[in-house]
């Protein structure tokens, strides 16, 4: 059976522009993934969250604020 194709789930706070799309494509390609699905979720406040398989790369404003809150 063919291996299921890896799809990256990308969460952004607003509609991404072409620059971001290119950056994301490069980023996921380095990690062996060639397709991305975009979800727009204003709850992350800003930044980007990329999930590839079992790995998550959280660069959202929400998680950064959370780290700041914990460190204070």
């Amino acid at each position: 059976m063919a291996k299921e194709e890896l799809v990256a789930k990308v969460v952004v706070s607003e509609k991404p522009d072409d620059g971001i799309l290119r950056l994301v494509a490069d980023f996921i390609k380095q990690r062996g993934c060639y397709r991305a699905e975009y979800v727009i979720d204003p709850d992350i406040l800003g930044g980007i969250v990329i999930r590839i398989g079992d790995k998550v790369y959280d660069g959202s404003v929400r998680s950064r604020l959370e780290t700041v809150r914990q460190s204070l």
């Binding site: 079992d54 790995k55 998550v56 790369y57 959202s60 460190s71």
Partner: protein, 508 residues
Amino acid sequence: MIDLNEIGRELKEKISRVSDHSQERSTGKIVYSGDGIIKVAGLPGVQYNELLEVRGGYQALALNLEHDSVGAVLFSGEDKVRFGDYVYSTGKTVQMQVGEELLGRVVDPLGAALDGLGEIATGKTRPVEFPAPAIMDRGKVNKPLQTGILAIDSMIPIGRGQRELIIGDRQTGKTAIAVDTILNQKGENVICIYVSIGQKASSLAKTVNTLRTGGAMEYTCVVCSTADDAVPMQYIAPYSGCALAEYFMYQGKDVLIVYDDLSKHAVAYRAMSLLLKRPAGREAYPGDVFYLHSRLLERAAKLSEAKGGGSITALPIVETLAGDISAYIPTNVISITDGQIYLESELFNSGVRPAVNVGLSVSRVGGSAQRKAIRQISGQLRINLAQYRELAIFMQFGSDLDNETQKTLSRGAKLTDTLKQRQYLNYTVKEMIVLLVVSQSDLIDDIPAKKVTEFNEGLLDYLRINQSDLLGAIAPDTAVTDELREKILAAAKEFIDLTLGDEEENHV
């Protein structure tokens, strides 16, 4: 005045120190949830005992790493997590908040305040699971830890760095001994930690209140997990308490830690293990229940001088059922600790309080730490009591007794009475020396039977008021000289004449 610029600068500095690049974290999805247990598919690279974060901010502890899933226990949010929720690894183990600020407080097993006296933020943490001090880092137990209880300090002495089990049925005064010991550490420079594991909130409130009114909270921290807390909280509570104790020990301080009680801890661990589908062994406890307690109690130690000389003295409490000390958990903990104080309900109900069974209680290392004077005059005590008990059993067969036997019996009964002590009424070492000298002299024949406890309390009051220089002259670290013995006996004789004289007048 609060300087706003100062605050602003500090905030800026702290925020700038927070790393701003996103990290790679591994994730998984919940594929099973029930009874506070979750199974997570995914989570590559997760470690045993790693803290996990469930979507929604709930924390869990990874305990079973299996072929296709990870079994974890939830600290909170048992009824909030949903099937398919994402779970993130954190790369951290459970941490306990530590610091001097915790003294005088009641906290949960993660170091958060429970007493409503304001949040605690020390900025310092220690891992809850931590390796015990190595062999070469340990020193010899050489300083006593005074419980203030005559029966214990004279015959079952506890040294700083020792692990002494308090074992007995329910309602035999196990907690009372621990609380008395904490109260007696006032001015002794010992930090106390009371860990409550799966106890009723009402009894815990009572204990905290006792400590507070006794002025013991100044140097005490209560780490608390009550019966309604999540099972994992009860499971980590003793390790958290120990992490806090280690924080002080590695600073060179002496710490006393009470685990109340380890049988409930074992029950909590059993519940967790069974729900995680680990194989059940004897009494349905999992195979590693011995290691559960041995790794905890090994962390109690006396450090060598090179390592600062600090110590953790552990008083674990184990509850037995119907006096059965050969059950699984009691035998385990007995074999781990350096001795046990065995309390019996029969003794308790017949008025011997503390209900210490002197025959079954031992202290394997405390003897070398005992104060010299106490060691000298209590040496004979255990033997005398054993002889008395033997005779007392024999006497039940009912036969005419000669005078000598009758005398031994009456002395033995009075000696037993001397060891009775009211709760919260701790004796100092000097007072103990007085009582031990008097109770083992011929004077004891003059004290009316059944009035020994009263007499002892009266005698100590009398000495404190009228003969304070005599009490002052007693040196606990040197042998009791004949001269001192005579002086003590003379003072006691004086008191006997005084009280017995009164009584005769009353009779007229």
